[in-house]
Symmetry: C2
């Protein structure tokens, strides 16, 4: 009998694993890698979850490779874990039961760009930056920006979003169709290039956010946008988090189509000032970006600045000059490094929650109070238009007491968000780290449904076992 | 053994049905109705599909009613069909295997409105117009407008959209969370009020568009918008469908956030002129609506009019005066009645397909040629920003030869759309009418997946059997 390892993941029998690895070696030659260094790279995790390397890594180059890995692993009952760039934050690429990692970085071809339809067809290993580089000359871009230069397959699988989701939506809103390799190696096509469809169950959105637990994405059709004629950046300081949140609520209610609206709390601004040699007022700050024609962007900025004034905002600065925009957003882009620099040598654990926007000020303020009480540093940045915010908890990973305090804080953060009608994760996903919060959020019936879906589409439980669905 | 009736629906044994009806009578008294007239009203179908009435109708008033109907039907193995307003177009509320219809019209309470969060919580029987009536005083509206005053539960279940999906999306983009009664009567909660989440499988979007085949929606949390400061309407005639489509493509590429952009082909304009006593040029027409601040709306109109000129558009008229807007859109709103009046006494069968926007002109033009060849009338209106268009086929329902010609036309229409990378339905759903097209569109692997999902969430096959998933 296989042994239960983590959640609902079971390690295969040694001879099953050996059989799979032998078959993979015969098929893939030196594209099958079993060295410890490479295996460990593929268990890369950016949380405090322990790394759990796979038993082997296959470098896939085309869809047929994925199909053959899945067929071989399925025949031997061995787990298969898809790997993009390893930038997920909740242990999504860990291999708690071992198995075979399919590294998709070489499946990075942009297969078709349809400028008139504003869509493109790509392989899963294409990264966000490579895609936008490719599209620039055609005046097009892909809007989702989670920070890291993640792969589009990975971003789809974690239902990623980021700073401009407030205007352009998340990966959920920007994937038109997928091709997914199922357990027998055959390919499920989930949709067409039509912009909308009511043809049957929404398979596309079942695989978006499934973290590779229902099959392996081998091709994506995603939506594109025209690069806006004008981009303006703006910044505005507020006396309180509440003022900044209120300005955001009013801006969205009145329909100002802000492209980005990011909150940095006072502690994050302090960290950025120190790291980026800035002299921003050390109070809550909103950073904004407006997209549109020159007239539209000016109008949006003007309307927002009036709202900001009503909500106790200070000087409102805005600019359309690229070099000034870059400078203004520098603090935001360097936020992680600024936090890192607060306490050299310590770890920074990133976590996110998302609440109805009316509760955001409460949630951030209570979280700041909580941090004060427990004496830990955790600057906060928020995609405030979506009610989504991140804590970057600074912790000495070698100090068990401090880590325990940090973990208890994270736990209260999730409970606080859920009590306010929110979710335990707005964009990082469940992975291993947040399984324990799902039932409190949605109830046992939703977990039953998720378990039934997993069993229906992956009856062998070979696709990324031990993720999302809590153990029974 | 139960007998196979239609697709994968099986009529229950007479004693099972009698047992269910007796139990329902005991529980619901005169809210259980078995009169032929009422049963027939609940099989209302607006296509040429034959009406198939349920065996009984229960008038539900609260969630507990739905739960009890489902429990009783489940115990006796009797089908349950949810009914909103009966405006679906592909036989979605037909009862091919009999069973019990749950009429949700009395579950029409708006439970919560969260103006700051731009969302509300409602019962499934709330209609679109009632909701917008309720919201108006708060400066809010719900944007999806499929034409009919449908219930929000029904609109969710068919993944409806309509004229302003080009800006505001479809029901898929506007449902935040659902409560769904499952087979044992317990309730699945699919999400929270947070604007985004990556917490596990996307249950919400599995139920959006499931046409009541996976459970009964008992409560919805949906997104709202602020009523725009200014609304402008515009009209522009084109020499060709291609010119109108090209103008639409350019408008979207350059990011003009049109709220509505509707195509009427020459034949539809002719019908509207005759019915609404207008004197529009009898060539392809685009009707547009712009939403925003006064300055934004003026800018959008100006930008669009430049594009229209480049694409061979004629005079561009626009207005922000409510009475003029109403007049301009009258032709569009009365399109169905105008078609009806073309041939009094004949039937009008509405069908829809959706293609990538770059192929829309081809698809509409080839369809017009096809109609010419077969000598049938079918004016075309299109949600052209989405690549979605409707044929309103005028047919003598008592003439089998003509009906056969019409049906063959519909078949070719779907094949044409699918060959162009499109879908057999953009917004009407699959129901009974379009099951036969699903496999050609997505392949057998997608059908397998849909069948597996249906079996996973409705193992008894009691929820609206015979819809969406083709018989095995």
């Amino acid at each position: 009998m296989a042994t239960k390892i983590s959640g609902n993941a079971r390690r295969p029998e040694p001879q099953a694993l050996a059989g799979a690895v032998a078959a993979l070696a015969a098929r893939f030659g030196n594209r099958l890698i079993t060295s410890q260094a490479v295996r460990e790279q593929h268990a890369h995790t950016t949380t405090w979850l322990p790394a759990q390397p796979p038993d082997a890594v296959v470098m896939a180059q085309e869809t047929a490779d994925i199909q053959d890995v899945v067929r071989i692993c399925s025949r031997h009952g061995v787990p298969v874990i898809a790997f993009g760039t390893g930038t997920s934050l909740e242990g999504q690429v860990n291999a708690p039961a071992g198995g075979v990692c399919i590294d998709l970085r070489d499946m990075n071809r942009i297969l078709e760009v349809h400028a008139e339809d504003l869509d493109c067809v790509i392989q899963p290993g294409v990264t966000r930056k490579a895609l936008n580089e490719h599209l620039r000359d055609q005046g097009l871009f892909f809007p989702i920006d989670p920070g890291a230069d993640a792969s589009l397959g990975g971003m789809t699988s974690t239902r990623a979003s980021g700073t401009n989701a407030v205007r352009y939506g998340t990966m959920r809103d920007n994937v038109l169709a997928l091709k997914v390799v199922r357990g027998d190696g055959e390919i499920i096509t989930t949709g067409t290039r039509a912009k909308k469809s009511s043809a049957g169950y929404d398979l596309t959105h079942l695989f978006v956010g499934a973290e590779g637990t229902l099959g392996i994405i081998s091709e994506l059709t995603i939506k594109l946008r025209g690069i806006p004629e004008t981009i303006a950046a703006a910044a505005c300081s507020f006396e309180t988090v509440r003022g900044a949140c209120q300005a955001t609520i009013l801006a969205i209610q009145t329909g100002i189509p802000v492209a980005r609206i990011e909150l940095l709390n006072a502690e994050q601004v302090r960290a950025c000032n120190a790291y980026s040699k800035l002299s921003l007022p050390e109070t809550p700050l909103l950073l904004l970006e407006f997209h549109g024609s020159e007239i539209e962007v000016a109008e949006q900025s003007r309307n927002f600045s009036e709202i900001a004034q009503e909500c106790g905002g200070g000087d409102f600065t805005w600019t359309t000059r690229p070099e000034d925009r870059t400078k203004l957003w520098q603090a935001r882009h360097d936020a992680y490094w600024a936090v890192k620099a607060l306490r050299p040598g310590a770890g920074v654990v990133a976590t996110d929650v998302c609440v109805p926007i009316s509760r955001l000020a409460d949630c951030v303020t209570e979280t700041e109070d909580d941090l004060q009480r427990i004496g830990l540093l955790s600057p906060i940045v928020g995609h405030v238009g979506d009610g989504n915010f991140h804590c970057s908890l600074v912790c000495d990973v070698d100090d068990p007491e401090e880590m325990a305090r940090g973990e208890a804080f994270m736990h209260r953060l999730v409970e606080r968000a859920q009590a306010m009608g929110g979710t335990c994760t707005g964009e990082h996903g469940i992975g291993q780290g947040k399984q324990k919060y799902l039932e409190a959020e949605l109830g046992s019936e939703a977990i039953d449904a998720m378990r039934a879906l997993k069993a229906a589409l992956d009856p062998q439980n070979i696709f990324n076992p031990g993720k999302i669905v809590p153990a029974n």
